[in-house]
Amino acid sequence: MHLDDRLFSDKKLYLPLLAAVLLLPWVPMGLAGPYVLRVATLTLVYMVLALGLNVVPGFTGLLDLGYVGFFGLGAYTAGLLTVHYQWSIWLVLPLAVMNGVFWGVLRGAPTLRLGDDYFAIVTFGFSELIILVIRNELWLTRGPMGVPGIARPDFCGAVLDQPWQAYYLILFFLLLVLWVVVRIRSSRLGRAWFAIREDEIAAECVGVNVANYKIIAFALSAAIGALAGAFYARWFRFVHPDMFKFWESILILCLIVFGGMGSISGALLGAFILIPLTEVLRIVLPDSLSNARYLLFGLLIVCMMRWRPAGLLPVEKE
C-alpha cells in the first residue's frame, strides 16, 4: 500500500506549493485582489470538502451522493447559533462538527449492510431530506428567507474582517483536516477502511469490525463536511437552502473523481483545478452559455470514468 501520496513524499514538490499558498494574499500587482482571494478561499473550502468526502467513497469505497447535506447542516448549525447567540466561531465550530457527527452516525448506522447502489441512493435521499427540512422549517431556519447577518469569524475576541484573515483561517482548517486525514490514512484505521473497500468479507476475517469502522468513516466525513460548512457560513455571512443543492454534492464528487478517488493529493488537486476553473469559465464563456459549465462538468465525469477512472493522481503506482 503506497499510502503516501507523491505530494507528501516529495519535498521538492510540496514545499514550493505550500509557500505559494501561504504567500498568496501578499502577491503584488493587485493579483491578490479581493476577487482572487475570494476564489482562493472558496477553493480551500472545497479542498476541505473534497478531503472529507474522500473518506467515504475514496477510503471505504461507498458512493456518497449526499455530502452537501452535511455541508448544509454545518453551515446552518453555525449560522443559526451565531445569529441567535453571537458566539465565537471557536465555540460554534465544534458544535457544528458535533451535529454533523451525530447525523453522520445516524445516517450511517442503518445503511451498514447496503450494497453500493443502494447506499448511494440512501445518502442522496437523506441529504435531500436534510435540505428539505432546512427549506421548510421556518421557525428554525427561516427557510427560503435565508439567514442573513451572520457574524464574521473571530479570533481571541478580534473580528477577522480582512479577506486575507479568512483565507488564513480556512488554510489553517485545511491543514488541520489534512493532518488528520493523512495520519488516519496510514494508520490501522486507514488500513481497515482500505480493507473494507477491497473486500468486506476478507476484512471481517482478519478481525476488522466492519460496522464500527464504516461508522467511524461516516462520522469523520460528516465532521469535516460540517466543519467546512461552519466556516463557510461565517465567511459568507449568509446561508440559504439554495446554496446546498444536489448539484454541490456532484461538484464535490467531481473533485475527487477528477483528482483520483482515495488519493489525498488527488482530492486537493481536483479542487485546486476545478474550482478556479469554474470562475475562469464564468468569465471566458459568454453569458448565454454560463450553464455550459455544468454541462462540461457532466462531460468531465463521464470522460474521466471512461479514460482515466483512477483520476489524475491515482493512488496506486503500478
Partner: protein
C-alpha cells in the same frame, strides 16, 4: 353532517383519481429503471433525462420549435422513437465501455450523463417552463370525461391511464412471449450462461435500453401534456421518484415497478393532500429510504444469490 361526509368522500375519490394518474406515470418511468437494472445491474441515473427529452421532443415537434410542426399522433410517435434511439446511444457511448469496470464507475458515469443531458436541454430549450401551444393538442383532452358530483376525471387522465395500461401490457407481452424478451430475462439471471447460449448480450442490452427509454419518452410526453409544462429539470425529480418506485417494488421486477409507481403516486398525492404539500418530495424520499432499509430487495424483489 351528511354534506361533510359527502365532501370528504368526494375529496378522497378525487385524490384517488389524481394519485392513480400520477402513479401510472411513475410506473412508466420506473419500468425503464427496473429493466436496465435487471439486465445489467446499473442504476441508469440518466433515465429521468430521457423522459425529459421525450417531453421536450413532443413539445418541439408540436410547437414547431425546430422550424416545422407535426400532427399530434406523428409527433408522439417520432419522439418515442427518438427517445428509444437516445437510450441506445446512451448505452453505447457511456455504459458499454464500462461493462467490465467496477459498478461504482458505471454509476458515476450515469450521474455524469444525467448532468450533461440536463444542461444540454437547458442550452437548447432554455430554463423556462414551456407550455404546449393550445392549438396543437386535441381539444377534447381538456374536457372532463366523467363528472361524479365534485369528482372530475378529465379525458387526459383517462388517456394517460389507458396508454399506461396499454404500454404495460405490450411490455409484458414483449418480455414474456418474444424471443428478445426471453433473452432479456435470461441475461438478467445469468449473463455468462446466456452468452454461452449464443445470445449477443450487447444487442439485447441495447434492446432493453430502447424499450425502457421509449416508455420513458412516452411518459415524458404524457406528463408534458398532463401538466402542460416542460422544463429541463423535470427529469431529475421525476427520475428520482420513479427510481424510488422501482426500489419500492423491488428493482429488477417489472410488476414491482408498476405496483411501486402506483403506491408512490398515491402516497404523494395523499401525503400532499392530507399532510404537508411542501414535503411531497420528501415523502417519496422517505418511503424509498425506509423500504431500502427494511427490505433492501423491495416488495417483489428476489434475493440475489452471491455468485462466488
Amino acid at each position: 353532517m351528511l354534506t361533510a361526509i359527502f365532501e370528504q368522500s368526494s375529496l378522497f375519490l378525487q385524490q384517488l383519481v389524481n394519485g392513480i394518474t400520477l402513479g401510472s406515470i411513475y410506473a412508466l418511468i420506473a419500468v425503464g429503471y427496473t429493466m436496465v437494472y435487471g439486465v445489467i445491474q446499473l442504476i441508469n441515473f440518466a433515465h429521468g433525462e430521457i423522459y425529459m427529452l421525450g417531453a421536450f421532443l413532443g413539445f418541439s415537434l408540436l410547437s414547431g420549435f425546430f422550424g416545422f410542426g407535426l400532427p399530434f399522433g406523428l409527433a408522439v410517435a417520432v419522439s418515442v422513437v427518438v427517445c428509444a434511439l437516445a437510450g441506445v446511444l446512451l448505452d453505447i457511448v457511456a455504459y458499454r465501455p464500462l461493462r467490465r469496470a467496477p459498478r461504482l464507475a458505471a454509476l458515476i458515469t450515469a450521474i455524469g450523463m444525467s448532468i450533461f443531458l440536463q444542461n444540454l436541454a437547458l442550452l437548447i430549450w432554455g430554463g423556462q417552463i414551456q407550455s404546449f401551444p393550445q392549438h396543437t393538442i386535441p381539444p377534447f383532452l381538456g374536457e372532463p370525461a366523467l363528472l361524479l358530483g365534485d369528482v372530475v376525471v378529465s379525458w387526459l387522465q383517462v388517456v394517460i391511464l389507458t396508454t399506461a395500461i396499454f404500454l404495460m401490457l405490450a411490455l409484458h407481452l414483449i418480455v414474456h412471449y418474444s424471443r428478445i424478451g426471453r433473452a432479456m430475462r435470461a441475461i438478467a439471471q445469468d449473463k455468462t450462461a446466456a452468452s454461452l447460449m449464443g445470445v449477443d448480450v450487447d444487442r439485447v442490452v441495447s434492446y432493453t435500453f430502447a424499450l425502457g427509454s421509449g416508455l420513458g419518452g412516452a411518459a415524458g410526453i404524457l406528463v408534458g401534456l398532463y401538466y402542460n409544462a416542460v422544463y429541463p429539470t423535470m427529469g431529475y425529480f421525476a427520475g428520482i421518484k420513479a427510481f424510488a418506485a422501482a426500489v419500492l417494488g423491488g428493482i429488477g421486477s417489472i410488476p414491482g415497478a408498476i405496483l411501486g409507481g402506483g403506491i408512490l403516486g398515491l402516497a404523494e398525492v395523499f401525503g400532499g393532500g392530507y399532510i404537508s404539500s411542501s414535503y411531497s418530495n420528501g415523502i417519496a424520499y422517505a418511503v424509498m429510504i425506509l423500504v431500502i432499509l427494511v427490505k433492501p430487495t423491495g416488495l417483489f424483489g428476489r434475493q440475489q444469490r452471491d455468485k462466488a
